[in-house]
């Protein structure tokens, strides 16, 4: 996912000299090609994210298009006021790119896990939020971000995410994607956990359960139509996110459902239930320890169906 982002950024920078790559001493090796070929479009700010975001906003006010990249936590939490006041309030054409969202940095612990990033960023006006599920979507999202004249936040996992999409995938900003249609239950998910959810859906299909799977690659603005259409069609919605259940994908879907009040829809949010991620180990290990394994998703889905 990260490499797909970097390749897209490279192509953008080759075409437009105003496109800049800003980093906070994060991205050794992976930025080497960019640095070598476009040294005047690359700035390493050192470990000073607040300054990086404000400087990026100032540069944007003079026509630059900075892609500000570092570990997601350090953009969305540490530099939050800079994001709010300097980027969003002033509608600056700054792209904020957070790497390592969810708990893909599985052995680094909760200081490096971005499990509230969607919640905090969703609260800000004037920003578009993208959450790609795989490499191809990362590329398409990066290209789409450059087309938007205003603040964008892209939340990326690291390298090595398995593919979710086929070659012929057409991406439309703001429109959720039905990865598989079904009639008994809808699962809405986003980001790198999508692959795990896909596995769970396959398992359920084997058990004879008809599941509709929706990937919500754009968190803001949220695709209300696909949520309400899914509610109408399947009468049960489960959201799955590698994130707190407060204010992220599940929160966004809940807001849409609560205001539209479709009749008799069962609804459940899966994710971190008011706790920080626990444990160390492989990405698979930590998903399992935090209740987001394929088996746990199948179990929650079945539970929701039982109460239908």
């Amino acid at each position: 996912m990260r490499n797909a982002y970097l390749e897209a950024l490279y192509d953008l920078a080759a075409d437009n000299k105003q496109i800049l790559a800003l980093v906070a001493d994060n991205g050794a090796i992976v930025y080497d090609k960019f640095r070598r070929d476009f040294p005047s479009q690359f700035i390493n700010f050192g470990i000073s994210e607040a300054n990086m975001v404000s400087v990026a906003a100032g540069m944007a006010s003079c026509g630059k298009i900075p892609f500000v990249y570092t570990i997601s936590c350090f953009i969305t939490y540490r530099a939050f006021e800079q994001v709010r006041n300097d980027v969003c309030l002033q509608k600056m054409n700054v792209k904020l790119v957070g790497i390592g969202v969810g708990f893909v940095y599985s052995n680094l612990g909760p200081t490096h896990h971005a499990t509230e990033d969607m919640a905090v960023m969703r609260s800000l006006p004037n920003i578009t939020i993208f959450s790609p599920a795989d490499r191809m979507e990362s590329r398409k999202i990066t290209m789409a971000a450059a087309e938007i004249d205003g603040p964008v936040y892209i939340r990326l996992a690291t390298g090595g995410s398995p593919d979710v999409y086929e070659e012929d995938y057409k991406f439309t900003p703001g429109r959720g994607v039905v990865l598989q249609d079904g009639s008994e239950l809808t699962i809405i998910t986003t980001g790198s956990i999508t692959h795990e959810v896909k596995r769970a859906v396959r398992e359920m299909s084997d058990l004879g359960i008809s599941v509709r799977l929706v990937n919500m690659h754009t968190l803001k603005p949220i695709d209300k139509d696909i949520i309400l259409e899914s509610a109408e069609k399947t009468k049960a919605i489960l959201t799955v996110e590698e994130h707190t259940i407060l204010g992220g994908l599940g929160g966004a879907v809940a807001e849409v459902l609560a205001e539209a009040r479709p009749s008799s829809v069962r609804f459940k949010r899966m994710g971190l239930d008011n706790h920080f991620p626990v444990g160390y180990g492989s990405y698979q290990d930590i998903k399992q320890m935090n209740g987001l394994s394929m088996e746990a998703i199948v179990e929650q889905a079945k539970e929701l169906m039982r109460n239908k």
């Binding site: 005047s40 700035i43 700010f45 050192g46 000073s48 607040a50 300054n51 404000s54 400087v55 990026a56 906003a57 100032g58 540069m59 944007a60 006010s61 003079c62 026509g63 630059k64 006021e81 800079q82 006041n85 300097d86 309030l89 002033q90 509608k91």
Partner: protein, 279 residues
């Protein structure tokens, strides 16, 4: 000498406008606005290449008031220079106005950045300077920061960053009035040795009397102090300069004068009060 007298008169006129605007608006930071009046006067009337006619030119000089709570001082200058009509000053702080307690770049013509939260305008200005350097532009960037603002960590992140990028198109002026909201600055978190700190970070530093028009003219005309280095001016100022009973008293940071105090202040500034309204 003639010119200095003209600018001194301009500074006095601006103080009158600022005081009247804040009092009629029902609240504001009078002393913090008064401490930067001469700095703004010299910058806007003699130094910077910025006017209502070229405010959208890419090569205009940029000014950022990082200590946004002194916004009324900036409004007074911008109105006088014709960036917007003076009648807006009468609406300050009232429903429907474009002029709030902190400047908004989308509402107020001539305001380059929306400031208010401290420690933001300075790195924002650094970004403008860096963009100008990258594009080979001739414009310069001037940022006024507060001394209390220098307690923000983001100020020192930007202070580390600017010299690395040789931003000699950037000038930061610290309004060193030595007071903050609750007390004297040196009793809260002292900054001294202040000039040495900036020098150690790679800035070219000069100190001036921030109310002395002649000194300010002289120092601004020397910019950049050194090729390849950002310039830092420590302007020694008096918070509340121009109203004797406010000068150097922390409690006035956001306090409004009562009717007697208003009479006294108006007398000192040469303003008339009729039926409680400043003329």
């Amino acid at each position: 000498m003639e010119d200095i007298k003209t600018l001194e008169q301009k500074a006095l006129d601006l103080r009158r406008v600022i005081f009247k605007t804040i009092c009629n608006g029902g609240g504001g930071h009078i002393p913090a606005s008064f401490s930067i009046v001469e700095i703004l006067t010299v910058l806007y009337y003699r130094i910077m290449n910025i006017s209502a006619d070229n405010m959208n030119d890419i090569d205009r000089d940029r000014f950022i008031l990082s200590k946004g709570h002194a916004g009324v001082a900036l409004y007074a200058v911008l109105a006088d220079k014709g960036f917007f009509h003076k009648h807006h000053l009468d609406t300050f702080g009232k429903k429907g106005t474009i002029l709030g307690g902190h400047p908004d770049m989308y509402k107020v013509p001539g305001v380059e950045a929306s400031t208010g939260a401290l420690g933001h305008g300075f790195p924002f200005g650094v970004g403008m300077s860096l963009a100008g350097k990258m594009d080979g532009r001739s414009y310069r960037v001037f940022v006024v920061i507060g001394d209390g603002e220098c307690q923000e960590g983001s100020v020192w992140e930007a202070a580390l960053f600017a010299p690395k990028h040789n931003l000699d198109n950037l000038t930061v002026i610290v309004d060193y009035n030595k007071l903050q909201a609750m007390d004297r600055l040196d009793e809260i978190i002292p900054l001294e040795p202040f000039a040495d700190k900036w020098r150690a970070f790679g800035w070219e530093v000069r100190e001036v009397d921030g109310h002395n028009i002649g000194e300010l003219l002289k120092v601004f005309n020397l910019l950049p102090f050194k090729r390849g280095r950002p310039s830092l001016i420590i302007a020694h100022t008096i918070k509340g300069k121009g109203i004797s009973f406010m000068e150097g008293i922390p409690i006035w940071h956001y306090r409004m004068p009562n009717p007697d105090e208003m009479q006294q202040a108006c007398k000192e500034l040469g303003l008339k009060v009729v039926d409680g309204v400043i003329q």
